[in-house]
Symmetry: C2
Subunit: 219 residues, 2 copies
């Protein structure tokens, strides 16, 4: 476990804590380490989770197979990322996706009850972890709501307007840089790249905005 302290230190969960702090908390949080070979399932659809997990080595895929056999990649988890936190609530039911290792991987499990219930020995940094966890999940929440706001628009143009407006608000300026290239933006908005590129140029020609590469300005 010691081996991965430097990685844990960089995670959102332990943000602001030193390696020594983290080390002293591991037992208090009932941390357990599991290894997986490339191709192994970390979790299977139908399982019930009661752990918050952090990937410290390798790479995972969260994927979903529907009844007719269509497979979708929901997300890929890189080193330092947390997962499973959305499934620990008792009413949350069984996991609906599979989590698969696509490289030899190592995951650390934390008992979420232990995290939430500040221990009687009152380890100093425990409440910090609670806050970190809360911030992380609430941040995720915010991002999801925003993305949903864009994607649920009917037309490509509306999706673009929604996204670009928001980016402009976030950066508090009509000129702003987006963190995507065209293909990534199209994927994010769930549209075809070329169609989106086309629409973007139409919007430019209509005088709604100007752009150059990933630098945009609303007019």
């Amino acid at each position: 476990m010691k081996k991965y302290l430097s990685i844990l230190k960089k995670t959102k969960l332990f943000s602001g804590l030193s390696e020594t702090d983290i080390s002293s908390m591991l037992s208090c949080l009932d941390a357990k380490l599991f290894s997986y070979k490339n191709g192994d399932y970390v979790f299977r659809q139908g399982e019930h989770l009661s752990n918050i997990c952090v990937l410290v080595e390798g790479k995972l895929l969260i994927q979903n197979d529907d009844y007719w056999g269509n497979r979708t990649i929901i997300n890929n988890i890189s080193i330092g990322e947390m997962f499973g936190e959305a499934y620990v609530a008792p009413e949350s039911g069984a996991l609906l996706n599979d989590v698969v290792a696509v490289e030899d991987s190592v995951v650390i499990f934390f008992d979420f009850k232990k995290i939430l219930t500040v221990c009687s020995s009152a380890c100093r940094f425990h409440s910090m972890v609670v806050q970190n966890l809360f911030f992380a999940i609430s941040e995720k929440n915010k991002k999801l709501v925003q993305k949903l706001g864009h994607i649920s628009k009917r037309s490509t143009r509306e999706k673009l307007m929604s996204y670009l407006s928001e980016e402009s608000k976030k950066q508090n300026s009509l000129s702003f840089t987006i963190p995507f290239n065209r293909q990534q933006l199209a994927d994010f908005l769930s549209v075809d790249r070329s169609a989106m590129s086309n629409e973007l140029c139409k919007m430019r020609d209509e005088g709604l905005l100007v752009f150059e590469k990933n630098q945009f300005r609303l007019l």
Copy 2:
């Protein structure tokens, strides 16, 4: 504040606690009550939040105006619902939406720091609230991810397959009831009702499934 104890008791935040328990915690959580007239803004775009809010009377709308003036209803908040919890993280930045009262409304604000930091006087039920808060937000998170999974599919048919598969998994049976009528389902999946209805019937004719009203069976 007393007046609203019966409502607070039914919220997710205070689930499992009695009115007396809640009453004894209110000061510890630094609860504050605010009233709004129909049309008043509870929050405006650009503000920074540090409270978790619960609506105890009236009705609110979370709405978003983009740069070009298009207004979107993001959500409507009914009595007993919690909001604002996605914006309390320090890095979360300014609120990007407006929250408006569409009836005369009353909102109770809780200091999120007070919630997360279990008080030294160690009120017995505090850690229960922390857990409730965490469950509520993680549940929201889960729902958002799932919805996003459906909506981000390109075609109406794929959206339907994704949604129906999941509902089947959730209810652990190929026969299941959905909690929507056609219009609601179309809104949820962000497609046109008649087009969706059409697609649904095509799928039935192709032998993928059968349905009657909101009862479905996958084949």
